[in-house]
Structures are given as C-alpha cells and as structure tokens.
Symmetry: C2
Subunit: 439 residues, 2 copies
C-alpha cells in the first residue's frame, strides 16, 4: 500500500507579544503573534509528517485554524506519492474547490489556509528528498518549476514559455550561484529596532545596537502622526549616518493624498522605500503614490493575497520592491509564480518576514530566487526580526546582517512540540500563567 | 439600564441545492447554497433581535460561522442605543480591530462576517424604527448618510463634501421618487433560466416561461466551452427575440485574452453585459477586456470585497454595471459608500442577488439608491432568482419583472426558526434525510 495523508492536525498557538509592544505598528497596536499551525500526518513508515502554518495577530486565530480544517477532506486519504509527483496539481486542487472557493476567492483566511497546507506538504516533500526546500526548488528543471504554477490568470503578463526561457537562461550558472550564496549568506535588513510602540530612547538604543552588529539597512514604523514620524526618522538617520539605508513602513495608515504629502516631508531622511503607504487593495492609489514620490520606491506584499494581484503590481511597475510572504498568498506555488513575474519585470524581491516563523519559511524563497530565477541579489534583502525563533527546531541564523543558508532537510517550519503545548490557546501553560496575572 | 447586545448567536444553515444544479456555473459546479446565519440578541423588553447572514456555497460555512463568532467580543455588552446613534462607528469598529484585521484586511471570510453582523444590527435598527431598511436610509439627512461611510481610503475619488453635495441635489425630489417606486416596483432581470448545469431543453423551456411571465432581461451562464456557449446563446436569443436583453455571466472562468476572444464571438448575440469575465481581483485585466469588447459592458461585484476595490473599478470606468452584494463587502455602510461612488461616476448599480436571502437584502439598496442617491432607474436592474424565498418571513415579491417594494419593518433578512432547525448542518432533519439517501 502506498502511503496516504491520514490527518490534518491543527493547533491554535499564540504568543503574548503584546505585553511589550513587539510587532506594534500603525494599524496593529497590540498584536499577539500567533500561528494556526498544521501537521500533515501520513501513514508512511517512520511516521513522516509535514509542518506548516498561517500567521495571524491573535484574535481570530481560531477562525484560521477552522479554515485549515475545512480543507482536510481534500487532503486526507490522498496518496503521498501522487501528491509529490505533481505539487502544482495539489495546490490547484486546494484553491479550486467549487464550494470552498466562494470563501475567497484566493484571499483572506481561505487563502492562508491553502498556504499552510501546501507549505506543510512541501516541508514533508523536502524532508523526503533529504534537502532544504530552497535546494529542492533550485534542483528542479525549468519544466518542473513551470509545472508548479497555475498560469491561467497570468498569461497576459507571463506565459509558460516565457517563464521557461527565463529559467533556462539561468540554468548554466546555477551551481556557481548556489556555492556563492552558501558561502556568503543572503543579505538582510532589521525591523527589530523600529516598532511603533517603542519610545524614542528604545529606538535609539536598538538602532545603535543594530549598527554595532553590522546592519546596513534598518526599517522604522511610521504613521501615527507626521510630527512623531519626523522625530523618529531624525533619530534613525542620526544613528544610521548618511550611508546606511533607512526603510519606512506605514502599515496602510494613510489615504492616498496623505501618503503623498507625508512622504514629501519624510523624503528629507532619504528613505529607500515606503512600505504599505495605503490600503493594500488600492492598486491605483499605489500607482498615484509611486508617481508622486519617485525616486523613493513603494514596497508592498505582506497583504497581497495572490499571484493575480502581484501580477498587476508588477506589470504596471507600481512597486519597486516585491514583498512576497510565505503564508499570505497560496504557499510555494503561488510564491513561485510571483518570483517568475518579478523576474520578468525586473523587480527585486524583498520578502516580508518577522511574525511567527515567517523568517524561517521565506528565506528559502530568496535563496531559490537568487540561484534559479532572478539570478541576482542586487537591491534584494530579506527582512529580519529577532523574536520567536527559539520555538523552531531549525531556526534562522543571522550574522553580520546575512541569513546563513539553511541546510537541514525541510522548510524550516517545524515548531517544537513543547511550544505547541505551552502556547496552545487558551489551554496552554503560557496562557494559564497570563490569565493568573503578574506574580 | 439601557439595553445591550447580549449574544451573537450563529447557525450553520445549508440547503442541498446541488441535487438539481440550481446555481451551477463555470466555477461552482455543485453549490449547496448556505447561510452563516446570525441572530443579534438584546436584553431589550420584548426580546428584540436582529437577523443577518453571510452567503456561502456549502463546505466552509462552518469557517464563516466561526468568523462571525470571532466578532462577538466587540458586540456583546455594547449599548444598543449608542450603537444605533452612530452606525458608521459600529461598522468601523468591527472592521478595524487591531488583531482581527490581519485576517482580511477587509476581505474574504473576515469581511463577510462583519457584513453579517452589521446587517443584523441594521435589521434590528429598522425594526425599532418600524420601517423597512430602505426607508430608514432614505429618510436620513445627507449628513446622516455621509456619517455612515468610512471615507478614509476613498478621498482620492470622493470626499465627504462631494457626497453631501450629491445627496443634497436629490433631497427635494425624494418624496416623489419614493411614491413612484412604491407604486411601480423596481425593475428586475431573471437568472433562473440559465444555470450552467441545465440541459438545452431545460434552458429553452425556462426562458420561454420567463418570456411568458413578462421578463424583458435574462441572464445566461457561459464559460464551459465556446462551442457550448454559442449553442446556448443561440437558444437564448432565439427565445428572447431581438428586443429583449441578454446578459452573460462567465463566473471568472476566462483568462484576459480568452475573455476578449470569446466575447468577440459571442458579440453576435448582442449581450448587454459580460459578468465576471476573469478573476475578480484583476482590475487591469478587466480594464483590457472592457476596452476590447466595448460597447458590451463589463459587470462585476459579487466577489468585490470592499469599497476600496469598488472605488478603483468606478473611478477608472472599468465597469459599466456595478454589482453590489449585500453580504460580500462590509454590509450597509460599505454598500452605501459604493452607491455614492457609483453615483459620482455615473455608473448604474445592478445588484448581485440569488443565493440565500441576497434578493431579500439587496432590494433595499436599489430602492434607497433610486430615491436618495442616484435618483435614477435607468439601466438599473435587480437580479432575481426564484428559489429559497419560502424560508424567509418577509420574502421578496416579484411580479411583471418588478420587485414589489418591501413594507414590513426591518431588512427582510429573517429566516423562519423552523428553517434554521431543519437545515442546520449537519444535525437538521433535512440533512439527516439527505444522508439516509433516496427512499
């Protein structure tokens, strides 16, 4: 008997991060970073399983967990080998159920649920092959990579043949880039210094610390008031000096005109990009902002739900930096689609990370992109946030402002079972303590 | 003590409509029309309560129900009077929770949950005032109407002042239009004849029946294959004759180029509009299609999640018909925003209906739009589908291809409690029978 998937096991895992304003921004003042975590069980000998998750901010994580469970009938009893033989088909199947599709389509809770399961399947597949995910992808032929992607709604921007040509062009030089990136690591920037809930003193101290650690790029949250933004940017520029890069992130706080007006003022601090200046659904708004504030680039992605919206942001040149997210759009296949689109339109990919396990997952995509898709690290940076890594079996390792290339088999998405038990909401010990209040 | 909301009671209600392909289309071959139904309970004397729902296609209705429950902490214990005094604030509160917002933002399951609760509150508010919802809205001053809307992300297309001016222009003539629409009813079109799962014979018979009933506009599902589409359109045009209007609905089936190519062929049947020619998130794709197939109009809306996406579709003139939906975007306040945008850009509103209770709810918006916002019924039609109305306490009444104006207090959104019990999934008697199989 060929092994089958036997269960989609879910965990509502939450971390009380709101205690100290880690992760606070203009729209999310008190997030409790959470994971709707999934273990894809199989009856393969040795109890092989895959791990994935959707990232949320706390309340509503139970809805996300329910959405993952709702996909179980499409997964359970399915042959593991048949799934691995056509991962593109697996992803398409989860996204195109004639009843479930109404819940999105391809967006929000439903789409993040697809991503969690698709990513868990890729984690298992990579373990099976004994390679980290980035290497599984990088070792695929152009034809195999193209087979992962659902091109149906993309052909006005990129055809399978164009994608093939683009990948083939990079084929011969893959081994060299692979060795290079393993040796040097992938360049990163830090967001840990600039959360909105931090006081000026905390920001200054954290940025100074970041500079000492060798960071050359740092991101600051803005959007509470222009006056505060100016004050905080001045501190940042003061500590960073004229040559290190400063990125700003408004987390959707502004209207289109506010974004333009505020960025004209904040331009004095020479920011590399403004991230999420307005509502993520406002393509035309971002277009107007991008035109008005050039050469400052617009960066979005953490709230872009699928390859179809990325297609438009890229084909219209609205974004200067493409911030893929490992858990927001439909997982590996949707992200690969976006990497191909970004390469075609020459837009650098700078993934969104942080959260719970987003750094762990998304590093695989940047490394794959460098080796096999864009073939370039120019203007490309991985976001880094320094919390919650201790809960992961194969945590990211960042040194000298670079991500070390992960070498263990899988997608780096596995949490310690102890973490799952401790932080399960509301029954875990961490939440029982929280409820009991301070000692 | 002023009354408060005491509970957000939810019901997972599903109807086995897939049995006979009612509702089948190119992307949804076997829907079981369902409602994540909510009763907003209060401790007001007499046990006053409000009714609302999200519409889904069956599987996943439990996720939608969980999402509605997740909003309960923002509602329970809240003063009913304070809520009614500022319904705009209530809606904004539900949409802007710093943790829950991540699940959308403003889209998918999370947004439909907001709509269900907002609409239930409006149902209760209208009952309290002893008026049908359309009249509650139509009797509001321009200032009150504008206060319902969150203009934050809209000001590049419409400002509160512009909205006020637009509403004031219609003030003096409101009473006349109100009397007129009560007397004549609101014009409608039928979708009941053209579901994709119906055979040619069924389509012909149903269309003939529709013509005999006085329908002048009918919609046909397309998108399975061009050959089939041509054959079905030929039947439709044959039965409808040259003067009645034919609308087509591809339910997102096509890529951008397929939509253009197929509509160039189907243009011979003189369709009024093509609905959802491609993925609903593809603004630029719809723009390309609209340009290529003019004067055939593009119609979308049933999958547009919020006022921000509608803003772009309207300001860029991509859509010729604006298909608001009562349950997909954020409920009354989001729909009022879209009506104002549509009026500003001169685009007729032709709501999406059908489903479970969508006709019942959305009729109120078209009537309000006619009386107080656009002031016009030109090129405007309400969709009508003739099933599941028997489950509603105040069902729509359509005669001579016109909706009779509802006169009972409320939003027409209340289902019989017997229906909730019979069709609750999976425990209700209807599903127990289903499980037992044919007799």
């Amino acid at each position: 008997m060929s092994p089958v998937f036997t269960a989609v096991e879910t965990f509502d895992v939450r971390f009380p991060t709101s205690d100290e304003f880690h992760g606070s921004d203009a729209m999310h003042p008190d997030p409790d970073y959470s994971a709707a975590y999934v273990i894809l069980r199989t009856d393969a000998p040795g109890g092989e399983s895959g791990h994935g998750y959707a990232f949320t901010l706390g309340r509503g994580n139970e809805v996300q967990t329910a959405a993952i469970k709702s996909l179980a009938p499409l997964v359970v009893e399915r042959s593991v080998e048949a799934t691995f033989a056509d991962m593109g088909a697996f992803s398409r199947k989860l996204m195109s159920d004639g009843q479930l599709r109404w819940l999105g389509p391809d967006k929000g809770v439903a789409q993040m649920a697809v991503a969690a399961i698709v990513n868990a399947a890729w984690d298992l597949y990579a373990r099976r092959l004994g390679k980290p995910l980035w290497k599984v992808l990088a070792d695929m032929s152009p034809e195999q990579i193209v087979s992962l992607v659902d091109f149906h709604y993309l052909t006005d921007a990129i055809t399978p043949d164009e994608a093939l040509a683009l990948l083939r062009e990079k084929e011969a030089t893959k081994p060299q880039r692979e060795l290079e990136i393993i040796r040097s690591g992938y360049p990163a920037y830090t967001t840990s210094a600039g959360w909105l809930g931090y006081s000026d003193d905390v920001i200054r101290a954290r940025l100074q610390n970041a500079v000492e650690e060798g960071w050359t790029h740092a991101k600051l949250k803005v959007g509470r008031s222009l006056e505060e933004d100016v004050r905080r940017c001045r501190i940042a520029r003061d500590v960073l000096g004229p040559n290190r890069k400063l990125m700003l992130d408004a987390n959707q706080r502004w209207s289109v005109q506010e974004a333009i007006d505020n960025m004209k003022v904040l331009a004095q601090f020479d920011p590399l990009w403004i991230e999420e200046p307005t509502h993520p659904d406002d393509l035309l708004g971002h277009q107007a902002i991008a035109r008005a504030i050039a050469p400052i680039g617009v960066a979005v992605g953490e709230h872009i739900p699928n390859r179809i919206v990325f297609k438009q942001l890229l084909q219209s040149k609205v974004i200067a930096f493409c911030q893929i997210d490992a858990c927001r759009s439909g997982g590996v296949s949707d992200v690969v689609a976006t990497l191909l689109l970004a390469a075609k339109f020459g837009t650098p990919v700078c993934p969104h990370a942080g959260g719970v396990g987003l750094c762990e997952a998304v590093q695989h995509f940047s490394i794959f992109d460098y080796i096999a898709v864009s073939g370039s690290a120019e203007n490309r940076l991985l976001e880094y946030v320094d919390h919650l890594h201790e809960h992961f079996v194969d945590p990211v390792f960042v040194n000298g402002a670079r991500y070390a290339v992960p070498i263990k088999p899988g997608f780096s998405t596995e949490c310690y079972s102890d973490t799952l038990a401790q932080y399960e909401y509301p029954s875990g010990a961490a939440w029982q303590r929280q409820r009991a209040g301070p000692l």
